[in-house]
Amino acid sequence: MINEGLVASFAFLIIVVAEGLIALFLTRAGKTHPKIRKIPGLEAIEEAVGRATEMGRPIAYTTGLGGIRDQVYYQTIAGLNILGYTAELAAKYGAKLKYFPYDPTVMPLAVDVMEQAYISAGKPEEFNPENVQYLGGDQFPWAFGVLGIMYREKTAANIHMGPFWAESLILAEAGFYTGAIQIAGTANYHQIHFFVVAADYALIGEELMAAGAYLSKDPTQIGSLWGADFSKITTMALILLGVIMTAAGINALNDFLVL
């Protein structure tokens, strides 16, 4: 019934989903209250918006090169989650927030998210869809476009949250030289180092995906994050058990993994 070579994958999937669902239902039912560890990068967003308001300069926001039709869509969605939070703060304080989508399919989503945020902040009339500006669907033209706007409009804060590739350094370094406060996060581990070095606050890997739960305090999201922690424990346990068994000459687990 299950394809050859995929039995272990299927079993692992069942375990991970079960852990996630149990954690989610327990949290939603109020039976447990997991606390999320501090993520300084997310705390700093309010400071960045405040600074932009004080200076009367815009905030540049990007979600990297991801769309919703590729494998890194989860990072884009996480970036849009944080965009909603940032837009709500910007609406509350009266700061100008500009978002630059890379993928055209993200554009309507971003407009939707930002509009909802302005409505939540009680200032729907202040939302201007032109603050969502499409700069072409090619890596370096897009990066150069964002860079040009950062320079010309002297953005007070640059927030980059999503999947980034080679453009990460271009954006982060340019932002560093313009003196803007920079908060950046990506789960593309071959690019995080640039954000760690050039941004004021960096979200490393999964911290980006935890942002939704961290900012919203929604029990469903917190529960799923708790479940994800359990799946990491399962992975660690499986590795330790496997290492010990292999060293002892028992190959049962290895045989199962290739089933």
């Binding site: 600074r51 200076m55 669907g137 180092h193 606050y201 660690m236 330790l240 290492v243 060293a247 993994l257």
Partner: protein, 257 residues
């Protein structure tokens, strides 16, 4: 087919565009800005043209497509057309359906694909690392030591990403070690990035030094002219009055957490 004369035009254009865009490194100027806008415009048109062509070759023409009477391809076209409701005030919400369908497909595909290649195969390769046996603790670098470093790296780096437990006690030690492993990974990636960036720069320089046409034109002939253009524009820009800059308040000290 591209006429060969266009090669000359492409080389001339390429030299000016290269120098103008590199002039940004010195200072943002009208020439770099012009190339930036050209770049964005070209990228947008390229994406549009390719997507249009792809939609046609994907759905209309060729083997078992609409042109051959296979009308199943009408369904994805209709779903994708729902994106255009984004422009309607009244039916705006309808654009969310294609978005949901695409995001749902990606979620399903990704989970099934990743579980095998990124979890099971990686766990398997970690647990089968050599720790005992002949030759494992002989020679340099010791294969057994490599294995231990990898196992510790995997476990501790994974512990860094616990979100619902405080990083204290044993977990605190593990996350701290994991953090060092992550930083070492970032360093390795940085090295790779330097190499990649240099390759791109070298590629551009080789274009400037080596491009020729019909034995009488070399691209580098035009480099001084392009540089002169940048200098003229920079001088002109400098002579124009600049608006006063608003004061930049100091940034708060970066958190040490």
């Amino acid at each position: 087919m591209i006429p060969p004369e266009l090669d000359l035009f492409a080389a001339i254009f390429g030299v000016f565009v290269t120098i103008f865009i590199y002039s940004f490194l010195w200072k943002e100027n009208p020439l770099s800005r012009a190339v930036e806008h050209l770049f964005i415009g070209l990228a947008a048109v390229f994406t549009l043209a390719f997507m249009y062509d792809a939609a046609l070759t994907q759905a209309f023409w060729g083997t078992e497509r609409i042109a051959e009477g296979n009308f199943i391809w009408v369904i994805p076209i209709l779903i994708s057309l729902m994106y255009f409701f984004f422009f309607s005030k009244k039916y705006f919400f309808l654009y969310r359906y294609p978005v949901s369908i695409v995001a749902g497909i990606m979620a399903g595909m990704m989970i099934t694909g990743m579980i095998q290649s990124n979890f099971i195969a990686q766990i398997e390769s970690t647990v089968t690392l050599p720790l005992v046996g002949t030759g494992v603790w002989e020679g340099w670098p010791l294969p057994g030591l490599d294995s231990i470093i990898i196992i510790i790296g995997v476990i501790t780096a994974l512990s860094f990403f616990f979100f619902t437990w405080e990083h204290k006690g044993a977990l605190g030690i593990s996350t701290r070690i994991g953090r060092y492993f992550l930083m070492a990974t970032f360093g390795a990636a940085y090295g790779g990035t330097v190499m990649a960036r240099m390759s791109l720069f070298i590629g551009r320089l080789r274009f400037l030094y080596e491009t020729s046409y019909a034995d009488w034109f070399w691209a580098w002939y035009l480099v001084p002219i392009a540089v002169l253009c940048v200098i003229i524009v920079a001088v002109w820009q400098r002579s124009r009055p600049t608006p006063p800059e608003s004061e930049i308040p100091p940034k708060k000290q970066k958190s040490k957490d």
